[in-house]
Amino acid sequence: MSRSIAPANTYATLREIESRLKSIKNIEKITNTMKIVASTKLSRAQRAMFDSRAYGETSDEIFKKAATQPATEGNKLIIVSSSDKGLCGGIHSQISKAVRAKLALEPEADLVILGDKAKTQLARSYASNIVLSFNQVGKEIPTFAEAQTVADKIFKLGKKYDSIEIFYNKFKSGISFEPTSVPAFTEESLKSSPNFSAYDIEEDLAEDLTEFALANAIYWALAEGHACEQSARRSAMDNASKNAGDMIGRYSILYNRTRQAVITNELVDIITGASSLQ
């Protein structure tokens, strides 16, 4: 037992233990349900993630083939993909840690945050960097419309960014994820790529292409982050259910022992009283 119970084995202690036991049983039911919900969401989220990967990689292909490099100077924008809900292990704190490490190197960068959890963490030390934040993120599988809205609002800010980086949690396996960042290239970066001249492209199309590619990259980051979150929530709730199960076992034993001790004390009182009358 991790804590010592008061030695007096009275009915009061018994009630206390009983109520603790009831509440732990409730918690175990809740965490178990959350684990099952997260598992179902995870299978759908993973399918969406694979589709989004194929889509994002196709969008990236031109930048790979053109060997585009991100600009090292100028206005920088960091987009953080997170969500609103907690109870998912280290998802939000890890991504915030990665963004903070980046901001330590580039303290002037602007922040666009998708999700309240990352916003609360980053607002503590970098509130002045936040230019846009979105909530109602992460409830469902992300849609392309959401990614487009985010990209659109970024352009409406009117500020010209020289380099854009998107931070998200990369899905490595059912039990592990990794905070990663990918660049979203700007029109200038694309036009100054080594192999850009290989492409036959109309003048004004480069801007439209990079805007489209930004929406694609945001969508990919959101989909992958969503899958990581569901998987992390599943294992967190799994651990919580296991811990709750352990506690239920321990408290049940304690309850029974206390109950028996209370009955024994009652008997002792009765018998002592009866024998003193004799």
């Binding site: 589709d51 790979k64 083939k65 659109d152 036959d200 492209i201 489209f212």
Partner: protein, 165 residues
């Protein structure tokens, strides 16, 4: 993203053939010299991934475009219209797309990011007509944003009406 420009005349062009580009790219099996490798992806679905096909016809904003093996690397924005894919087996699949980008990469690889694409057979002409009437109504009334959205919807629906059976 700027609204898709409506093309009033579509011109069928075939680009000059260029020698295959031998540069450094990640090592995967080379595309056979008479095929083009197609990636046709949507945000929520992958229609073709690394599939070698014979020809792809694209509705680009600059005109209709036929892409064969070893096409010169190009970047095209797609307008609402039909993408024809002539597969290795000889059969042609047709998909109606609402918009997106198509990039012919060096090395005979065609990357298409479309927002929505569905087989032409899946559309019903009546549903298109009903939506067209609705969109025409909205295009002349409502707020400015609503009117612009309705106009874009009209572009798509008109292209669709031409194809839906």
């Amino acid at each position: 993203m700027s609204a898709l420009r409506l093309v009033t005349r579509s011109v069928l062009r075939s680009r000059p053939v260029v020698a295959p580009w031998r540069g450094s790219f990640r090592g995967y099996a080379e595309v056979p010299s008479d095929k083009i490798r197609l990636n046709l992806t949507l945000p929520h679905q992958t229609i073709y991934q690394d599939v070698d096909v014979v020809q792809v016809n694209l509705p680009a904003t600059t005109g209709d475009l036929g892409v064969l093996a070893n096409h010169v690397p190009t970047v095209e924005q797609l307008r609402p219209g039909v993408i024809d894919v002539v597969e290795e087996s000889g059969s042609t699949k047709q998909f109606f797309v609402s918009g997106g980008f198509a990039v012919v990469q060096p090395g005979s690889l065609l990357s298409i990011n479309a927002i929505e694409a569905y087989p032409v057979e899946d559309f019903s002409a009546e549903a298109v007509r009903a939506q067209l009437a609705e969109a025409q109504k909205n295009a002349t009334s409502g707020s400015e944003i609503d009117q612009v959205e309705a106009k874009i919807e009209l572009e798509v629906l008109e292209a669709l009406a031409a194809v839906a059976k």
